[in-house]
């Protein structure tokens, strides 16, 4: 297995009085796509937000590229090379698609060739380039959110349930985009409920329950083991397949 | 005792002692003190305990900031005052004026609440500020009715006049005249209103208010219409402030913008609640008494300090008695930061 780009060791996170993460241990190998599965409320989104510094862990270490980032502020974590696509997408609806992309490109105006590469997967973004992002459809917004995360090369991308409520045709586009990103060497940590989508892309998988990682495996192995799927994921499988 | 205090005890020995002392002194004030100054202060404390307690219903128990509390206080004062002024000194005028003021106050509170609390609690602070300032200007401008900046002096019913004697002979060396009767009316009403407020905050209604303050979303999720509860609290607090204003007018036999509507009074109320302790009615009583006592004292102290620093740059100006508001402001800001639970909170923490 490739060396780890991101490691979480014994991470605890409290939100108000609630103890959400109760000792998460997670390794994300460099260059691969790691899928984080689990029931609703298992702590997947909180794990991503904790990595991003949007919640501060109360205990534990978060190591990214050899550096402890657990105490850093969100902007510093982003600048260290992590991009984040939240579940709610975080689109600036008052800004145009172009302006959204401009903000995502920290180093200067977005690179032309990179944009063309993005447009190849998400042609709608080229079409609606100077429209306010607020008028895009849900799927188009999701494309914009992912495009924003990759407008400049980043070492690690955190993506929270990109397929939620998205049409199957667009999901296929996303599979293409993520596969291409993997080829480019980008590491991806993907929270997903859609097992088909996860199985198509994942290299490794971690399953969460009650604020802990309870199972780690290669994705292919879990995809082949129906008994383990039922045991670990239960009804969520049927509900989301 | 359980019933009288609605099961809400001071929960600190020192606090109990302080409250007991306050109650005893206020109850016996006409017999303890001679001068008009002292008895005026006692009456003012009675009125402010009610006013500040009613404000604490909003700030401390419901978690909303209103800048219109003096408007309701003023409504009470003007209601009773103008009724006595224009209808003559009868009890009917007192009752009529009070009823009108109560109705106007509650309706106004309802209106403001429905407009601002429906959308966002933060609107409430701004809208109350705007409405209250418009009201204050209105009261000053409509001088035909309100007497403008000068206000109105009026005659009170026979029973309350200084010349009236309840009993011919002095009792314990004090003449029981109309002023003493008025004082006891003020005192008894204040005590009753305070106990009623205590009952309200310890009722199921009061507990819902506190639940909303702690976590609005959760209260909403549990099925409580937070807007209705907040609006009801606003109306209740407004009604109580109207009553406090009416008591004040009866005591002063005068009503005017300076004594009821000015923003300084609003600031005093805020300071009293914060210093006494937000979210405890005992804090309102302690804060009101302490600040009213300190005000005259502080100003005298500042006069001395200003004289002592004469000749130094800027310091005499900063210590001039007219600048006491500056120091109250500083005190206010620092107590919100460093002393958010107020005196009562500290006393309770110490006794635990």
């Amino acid at each position: 297995m490739a060396e780890a780009l991101l490691t979480l060791e014994g991470v605890h996170t409290h939100i108000g009085q609630y103890h959400i993460l109760q000792g998460v241990d997670l390794t994300v190998p460099r260059g691969g796509l790691t899928v984080l599965l689990g029931r609703n409320g298992a702590g997947k989104t909180t794990t991503l937000r904790t990595i991003m510094g949007l919640w501060k862990p109360s205990r534990g270490r978060v190591t990214f590229a050899g550096r402890d980032i657990a105490g850093l502020s969100t902007p510093d974590i982003a600048r260290a090379g992590i991009a984040y696509v939240p579940e709610a997408m975080g689109i600036f609806s008052d800004l145009t698609v172009a302006e959204n992309m401009t903000l995502a490109a920290r180093r200067g105006p977005p690179d032309k060739a990179r944009l063309d590469w993005i447009f190849a997967f998400f042609p709608a973004l080229r079409r609606f380039w100077s429209q306010p992002a607020g008028v895009l459809s849900g799927g188009q917004k999701q494309m914009l959110a992912i495009a924003r995360a990759v407008v400049e090369p980043r070492a690690l991308i955190l993506v929270d349930e990109p397929t939620k409520g998205i049409a199957p045709a667009i999901i296929d586009n996303m599979i293409g985009a993520f596969a291409e990103l993997k080829r480019e060497g980008t590491t991806i940590l993907l929270v997903e409920q859609n097992f088909r989508f996860a199985a198509a892309l994942g290299d490794t998988v971690a399953v969460m329950d009650d604020g802990r990682v309870v199972h780690r495996d290669r994705m292919a192995a879990l995809a082949a083991d129906e008994a383990a799927q039922t045991r670990l994921l239960g009804l969520t499988l049927d509900a989301h397949q | 005792m359980e019933t009288i205090l609605s099961g809400d005890y001071p929960r600190s020995r020192l606090l109990t002692a302080l409250l007991g002392l306050l109650l005893a002194v206020l109850a016996a004030a006409p017999f303890l003190f001679d001068g008009a100054q002292a008895i005026n202060t006692a009456a003012k404390i009675c009125v402010f305990v009610v006013l500040v307690a009613s404000y604490d219903l909003l700030l401390g128990y419901t978690g909303i900031v209103s800048f219109a509390h003096t408007m309701f206080y003023g409504l009470g004062g003007y209601g009773v005052g103008l009724a006595l002024y224009s209808w003559g000194p009868s009890w009917g005028a007192v009752a009529g004026g009070l009823a009108l003021a109560l109705a106007a106050g509650v309706l106004l509170a309802l209106g403001i609440g429905l407009f601002s609390l429906r959308v966002r609690a933060i609107f409430f602070a701004m809208i109350t500020l705007a409405v209250a300032s418009a009201f204050a200007v209105l009261a000053a401008q409509l001088s035909d009715v309100t007497g403008g900046e000068d206000g109105r002096s009026f005659r009170v019913p026979e029973l309350l006049r200084p010349g009236f004697r309840l009993v011919a002979e002095p009792v314990l060396g004090t003449t029981i005249n109309g002023r003493v009767v008025t004082y006891y009316i003020v005192f008894a009403s204040a005590l009753l209103l305070f106990l009623a407020a205590l009952r309200v905050v310890n009722s199921p209604f009061g507990r819902v208010l506190q639940a909303i303050r702690e976590n609005e979303f959760r209260a909403e999720a549990l099925g409580y219409r937070t807007v209705c509860y907040r609006t009801a609290a606003n109306c209740l607090a407004a009604g109580m402030a109207v009553l406090a204003g009416a008591l004040n007018a009866l005591w002063l036999r005068y009503t005017g913008p300076e004594t009821t509507l000015s923003f300084t009074i609003m600031l005093d109320i805020l300071l009293m609640v914060v210093i006494g302790g937000m979210g405890t009615l005992y804090g309102a009583a302690i804060g009101a008494s302490l600040l009213i006592l300190a005000q005259s004292y502080l100003q005298k102290l500042m006069a001395v300090a200003a004289q002592a620093t004469e000749g130094l740059p800027l310091l005499p100006q900063l210590l001039h008695p007219d600048r006491w508001l500056l120091w109250l402001g500083v005190l206010f800001v620092t107590s919100v930061y460093f002393f958010p639970s107020g005196i009562v909170g500290r006393l309770r923490a110490a006794s635990r």
């Binding site: - | 933060i122 701004m126 809208i127 705007a130």
Partner: protein, 340 residues
């Protein structure tokens, strides 16, 4: 700033981006409706110009406050302190410049004003920085404490002005060339009002330019909508916020100076007076919206002038009535700013 824009035209239709135009019509409708009520055209012109001037001044003061709220959810009740301090600083600056102020040269007059405004802007900017650090920063995310503490800050600032400059009313003389009125036929328009309108339009245009054409502006607009995402993209929103707070304070100082010149007198209570109007304006406009704030300021000021002429007795409550009417129409204000 325009990013590389692929020149594409496509038949693909998008749900038509509906521009919300109704709020833009409020002020013109008000102006037209007032004409027959006022009856005489010259009076109407005078009232309208007065309303526009007043509206611009309120806008200059209120714009910073509404942005600060939008960006960090901080409502600064102490904003009035900057209005007052700015006006007093400008007055102090004008004293040694009395020669220029009284000179019969428009350029010397304007130079004196520019220096005074600069003093006001810089002074209140610095004060704003200190205010943010000392008063506001410790109470992020706590509305209740914010309201109390910033209100306390306003009181302290007002009293400090009393201590430094004295409590009496000060004269704030208009420069020679700006006194009096320009007459077109039988319509007389006060010169200073024209200047105030010009300054207000400049500030509005400048703000629009910054907000729409610079990366900082994009960040501010994005931050108003979703500050967390701005941080996740790698920008420090704290710095952005301090910058906006300082700029807003400086604008309040500028607006305060204009307001004092408009009144030609000055007391420490000026901050509190104007703040009431400012709050009404930003509520009407929709908290956080600069465009709404501009429209709200015009509506409030125009109405105040028309009603003041038509029915002086109810002029005082007209603002409240307008606010009530607009909130009945749109409970969130003219423009709703999307929130996270």
């Amino acid at each position: 700033m325009a990013a590389t824009s692929p020149a594409t035209t496509s038949a693909d239709s998008l749900p038509e981006a509906r521009r919300d135009l109704a709020p833009l019509l409020v002020a013109p409708v008000l102006m037209v409706a007032a004409l027959p009520l006022v009856g005489s055209l010259p009076t109407w012109v005078t009232l309208t110009v007065a309303g526009l001037a007043m509206g611009m001044m309120i806008f200059v003061i209120a714009s910073g406050l509404t942005l600060v709220f939008g960006l960090m959810d901080v409502l600064n009740f102490g904003h009035g302190a900057f209005i007052a301090v700015g006006a007093y600083l400008a007055m102090t600056m004008l004293v040694p410049l009395a020669g220029w102020v009284q000179a019969d040269s428009l350029w010397l007059n304007l130079a004196a004003l520019a220096l005074a405004v600069a003093a006001a802007g810089i002074g209140t900017g610095v004060l704003g920085f200190a205010f943010e650090r000392v008063i506001v920063m410790p109470v992020y995310g706590e509305h209740l404490k914010q309201i109390l503490v910033t209100m306390g800050g306003l009181i302290v600032a007002e009293q400090a002005i009393h201590a430094v400059w004295g409590g009496d009313q000060k004269a704030m003389p208009l420069p020679q060339a700006l006194r009096g009125a320009v007459v077109f036929g039988d319509v007389a328009v006060e010169k200073f009002r024209l200047l105030a309108v010009a300054v207000g339009l400049l500030v509005f245009a400048g703000m629009q330019l910054v907000l729409n054409r610079t990366k900082i502006g994009l960040l501010i607009r994005a931050g108003v909508e979703n500050g967390e995402m701005v941080e996740a993209l790698g920008y420090r929103i704290r710095r952005l916020f301090v910058g906006v707070f300082v700029a807003g304070s400086a604008l309040a100082g500028l607006g305060g100076t204009l307001w004092a010149l408009y009144r030609e007198t000055l007391t420490a209570a000026i901050g509190g007076e104007v703040m009431v109007l400012v709050f009404i304006v930003i509520i009407i406009g929709g908290l956080g919206s600069v465009g709404g704030c501009f429209l709200g300021a015009l509506v409030v000021a125009l109405a105040a002038n028309y009603v003041g002429y038509l029915a002086p007795k109810i002029a005082l409550v007209s603002n409240i009535l307008i606010m009530a009417a607009i909130l009945m129409w749109r409970p969130q204000g003219l423009y709703l700013v999307a929130r996270r």
